[in-house]
Amino acid sequence: MTQEAIFAGFGGQGVLSMGMILAYSGMLENKEVCWMPSYGPEMRGGTANAITIVSDDYISSPIISRFDSVIALNQPSVDKFESRVKPGGMIIYDSTNILTPPTRTDITIYNVPGSEEAVKLKNIKVLNMLMLGAFVRATKIVKEETITEALKQVLPERYHKLVPLNMEAFNVGTSFVTN
């Protein structure tokens, strides 16, 4: 199984971390992983993004222009990447923020009211974990329980007290995806 995903949003929304946590999780499960932050032409147009590939096999190119999944945290990300989802792929988007939703019919679209739910958790910063929860539930590319361990590796020790809150957000995110 291979998952070629792109996490995209404004700088500061934690999109780079989302990809990194996924990459760590993949590594913990002995999969091949590659994480590539915004580079080259992808950097323009108001989005920060991270391509993250998790695979059971050797990963050839870290540079890809078509994706299995797009996780969009802002409108420019949907506008830019909707057309680049492979047929049969998916978009997960923050429906609180994104007012013009994706319209393709050959892909699966999950609208997750991420910002709204994050505000309910009294911390908008956990939006990224919430969206990651939806992504992991939808793709099953890594086990949900691996995420806790990955979080600990990504977060510096002094922030480990925030792990429970982040996992709560992650779990809320998973609940928006029903297979």
């Binding site: 992983v33 590539m36 580079y39 190119s61 540079i63 222009s65």
Partner: protein
């Protein structure tokens, strides 16, 4: 078995430097490789006592390297294109004085101040000498974070074996991307130094001096002949490359570094469409793996060379096949990275539809 970690290319390179028992790093900040100096400043000194110094310029840094390498130490510097240009003077002296040292060029798009995005436009500068005079660097082109680690160790070894400067030719994308790496165990720093090193005159022995100045032409020609003989030896012993699916290949995609992996993806897509494509990736770009191209050329309908520049390595590929097959080029410049789809498209345009442009 060493440690398994998820690391950025630049960090992995820095960690490998510490673990390889590097004695000193002298460098100057420049995007996209400033993490190296930052990582080392944070980590190195406390762990191994390694010297880490931010120089006032790349010019100074490479000359500090000259000094410490002359004293027989394992030394390394890193920079990106504009900074590497400034180091060319020092590199020429280092090559002439036959001092081992390792440097990494995390290439960005040029010419001039250019862009901070990844590029391969420094190929000619890296493999054809770079500074003044007839000399060569040994040039290793990693295509993964793991190779950023492995080539630090290999680079030090090759440099010391041949008393020659070695360059890791990489780019900003490999420097910034994260992959799994297996790190080798910490190696001890050297406690014994070569006979030629200037560590203070030894009792009963002649002094050592390190120089690249030989005013008499006969002597300077002799030095040149010795250097050329060394480069021949390096060409004989140290060629490294990777091939994929060459057995039944009718076409070959070729590129170095990051682009080679994009070529492999494009090859997979081409195979899915029924085109018999293989890939050749030079790992050492000097010495260049001429023979592998020459050997496969007769079975091919053509080669597509892909680079992040205006077409540099393609000249070496053409020299290698020496007319035995067609060699076409596709490249992006100024920090643009070709996508697998683009490579496939251009392959079909050139070789299947037979369009020239």
């Amino acid at each position: 078995m060493g440690d398994l970690k998820l690391m950025k290319g630049n960090e992995a390179l820095s960690e490998a430097m510490i673990r390889a028992g590097c004695d000193a790093y002298f460098g100057y900040p420049i995007t996209p490789q400033s993490e190296v100096l930052e990582y080392l400043a944070r980590e190195a000194s406390a762990r191994t006592g390694m010297v880490v110094l931010q120089a006032e310029s790349e010019v100074a840094a490479i000359n500090m390297i000259y000094g410490a390498a002359g004293a027989g130490r394992r030394v390394m510097t890193t920079s990106s294109s504009p900074g590497i240009s400034l180091m060319q003077e020092g590199l020429s002296y280092i090559a002439s004085a036959e001092l081992p040292c390792l440097l990494a060029n995390v290439v960005r798009g040029g010419p001039g101040l250019g862009t901070i995005q990844p590029s391969q436009a420094d190929y000619f500068q890296s493999v054809k000498g770079g500074g003044h005079g007839d000399y060569k660097l040994i040039v290793l082109a990693p295509s993964s974070v793991q190779e950023m680690v492995d080539f630090v160790k290999l680079g030090f070894e090759l440099g010391e074996k041949y008393r020659n400067p070695v360059m890791i030719l990489t780019d900003g994308a490999i420097g910034q991307m994260m992959e799994k790496v297996v790190l080798f165990e910490q190696m001890p720093r050297k406690t014994e130094f070569p006979d030629w090193a200037t560590t203070g005159k030894k009792p009963g022995k002649d002094r050592n001096y390190i120089t690249s100045l030989h005013i008499q032409s006969e002597k300077m020609e002799e030095i040149n002949l010795r250097l050329q003989a060394k480069y021949k030896e390096i060409e004989k012993n140290e060629i490294r490359y990777q091939t994929v699916n060459l057995e039944d290949a009718e076409y070959v995609f070729t590129g170095f570094g990051l682009v080679a992996r994009i070529c492999i993806k494009a090859m997979e897509m081409a195979r899915a469409k029924g085109y018999k494509v293989g890939v050749i990736r030079p790992i050492t770009v000097f010495p260049f793996p001429t023979q592998v191209y020459a050997d496969v050329a007769p079975q091919l309908k053509g080669i597509l060379d892909v680079e992040m520049n205006a077409g540099q390595m393609v000249e070496d590929v053409r020299l290698s096949v020496n007319g035995a097959t067609k060699v076409e080029f596709y490249g992006r410049m100024g920090g643009m990275i070709p996508s697998p789809e683009e490579i496939l498209e251009n392959f079909e345009r050139i070789y299947i539809k037979g369009e020239t442009k």
